[in-house]
Symmetry: C2
Subunit: 371 residues, 2 copies
């Protein structure tokens, strides 16, 4: 089935709703853990469920290159391949093509993007049709249109040319899209330019996608610019479709996104931070490698309900991280993901109670207070 | 409490029994997973329980260097530090001192061993007293006497000198041992020489340890020599105490050890193989990186009941291993450990039914048949 978004309550621009999927109904706004290579790094599917995940994300670019979409398809699709019975969203591959290989030669043409594989240097062509065909085969629940992720800063002329192409690419992808149980999102680009974001949103909405992503953020712009990009894009999106802000996962950014009407977020930040020994707490991020934690037998976050915080101490996790034991990375990944998922749970309650702005201020004031 | 071994049935020299510990009663023979740095690599404590582990092992040398026995002691001991509520055995550090640093300068004196830390090159002295004091602080359930692991091959004269020293070291360690709830094993050395093994066993038994280890195997000798070393050592050990063959974990070696009267085994092999993408099956070891598994959607071992085999395919695990995702290493670690633990479960049943030798032949014939 196609996903269905139900807007149930608004508090300012913040939206509380539900998303009906092939794998159940989930509340929004939500944070989606990233499972780049068909695995949320260091976690098994039981861990993913236990932290309260709804949708998880996987990367088309990575799965295309390895193991290949045909292998995943033969396995019965991504859910069966990785043994995950919850909704999965795949991105379009555009972001990876434009960022992973930014230092190497790539050619953008009307046809698509020619670039070199980060694995073996092979020359590859990714087109809007190919991206959709790969995602159709991966059989995720939500697919993304192929877009160009505009660098920041970009001139108005470049952004305009690129946005026009992204709209043409969205149309081409939609035309070949062929998977009954999969939904397709359009991606609003336009850089930092309000008229381009507006125009892109309007054109995509005409094509009637199942949801809309806001792309081209977190590519180097300052926070105020990012928030403006979100505002520009979202103003022209319909209320009855979900809005997904791609690649955003700093705790404060989740609040800023929700306050502007975003329903879905994803980011590698919580798992990447974990692998480097960093943990979110309500007072800000902490670095478990710090010497001061060597005999600290309190939990990473005494206010957290996750498996890590309920069972292990800072001293033990510090030991694991320093000894390069993957259990340390796993426990912090569980905590960091649960931390963001709990924030979203609290945000949903606050919206329903018309207290979102109070909760936002309270969170941000405390989170920022840490030095 | 001190551990208590109960011999319940013999089938030839194979022994079925129980081991009463601070954390419950477990059946023997048993295989003990290795948690070198206070973590069984890639597994969390729930995984360890789920695969049916009884005693697990941790390494005194590693914990001494990092995080240090005082940190572990302040945490409330190793069980609390790593949040594991099952019995834990610690080795004495001797094997690591003699093997990890075999290419660097070390000095063996009557006092102990002077060597350089593998972490930072610091000069350290490990003595029998120090080893026991560290283990007392770690508060494992079973501690080991400090011994010299004799290299193979070794001259009779060297083996004799070393074995005499190991006996003196055992006595010195026993004299300073001070932990009411911890048991202490003596380690039978003697190299490949029957009279030295006999003499060492006899001297240690006089000191009345809570159990006896057979040391100095798996250090380069051929299989027949190893089995002889076990026979020489075990002949003179009492029936009412457990016998532990250190560092042995090849499936066929478990059978050979049990057939000679061994009750406890440990080895890093199952988890190390897993991290390199190898898995045990009843037909022998397989390498999941092999191209032929790329679209093989059957379990690693269709006769296994572990979380890995019940939920994931060879194709998925191959993908994870090749993509260097730790979930692949974890799933294979679970399987390989469960594989050895299940062998021991089957061995125990076969001993109770006086069918151990039939089971041994059946297993070894099939396991060896694989090329």
């Amino acid at each position: 089935m196609k996903i269905k978004y139900n807007l149930l309550h608004k508090d300012g621009n913040a939206r509380y709703g539900t998303l009906e999927t092939n794998y159940g109904i989930y509340e929004t706004p939500m944070f989606m853990p990233v499972g780049t290579q068909a695995t949320v790094k260091t976690l098994d599917p039981r861990d993913i469920k236990e932290i309260g995940s709804a949708v998880i994300l996987s990367n088309t670019y990575h799965l295309w290159l390895r193991p290949g979409e045909d292998i995943v398809n033969k396995a019965g699709g991504l859910h069966k391949f990785m043994n995950y019975d919850g909704p999965i969203l795949t991105d379009c591959g555009g972001f990876q093509v434009f960022s992973l290989i930014k230092n190497k030669k790539k050619d953008i043409t009307e046809e698509g993007v020619i670039f070199k594989s980060h694995l073996n240097g092979e020359r590859l062509l990714l087109t809007p049709e190919k991206s959709i065909q790969i995602q159709n085969k991966l059989d995720s629940d939500i697919a993304m249109s192929f877009d160009e992720c505009i660098p920041y800063p970009a001139s108005y002329d470049y952004a305009k040319e690129s946005t026009e192409r992204t709209i043409r690419w969205a149309k081409r992808g939609k035309d070949v899209f062929n998977n009954e149980r999969q939904s397709l999102f359009g991606i609003v680009q336009g850089g930092e330019y309000e008229d381009l974001r507006y125009w892109c949103a309007k054109e995509l909405v005409k094509m009637d996608f199942d949801g809309y992503s806001i792309g081209g953020t977190s590519v180097g712009e300052d926070k105020d610019t990012m928030y403006k990009m979100v505002e520009y894009a979202i103003k022209y999106l319909p209320q009855d479709k979900p809005r997904y802000l791609m690649g955003v996962g700093e705790p404060t950014d989740l609040f800023e996104g929700v306050s502007r009407g975003v329903d879905m977020f994803d980011c590698v930040l919580p798992t990447r931070l974990a692998r480097h020994g960093h943990a979110f707490t309500l007072d800000g991020k902490i670095n478990l490698k710090n010497y001061k934690y060597r005999a600290d037998f309190s939990p990473v976050d005494s206010e957290c309900d996750c498996y890590c915080c309920k069972n292990f101490t800072k001293a033990y996790i510090r030991h694991l991280i320093i000894a390069n034991e993957t259990l340390g990375q796993k426990l912090l990944s569980i905590h960091n993901l649960r931390f963001l998922i709990r924030i979203m749970e609290n945000i949903r309650v606050s919206i329903k109670n018309d207290k979102f702005m109070e909760y936002k201020d309270e969170f941000i004031n405390r989170y920022k207070s840490e030095k």
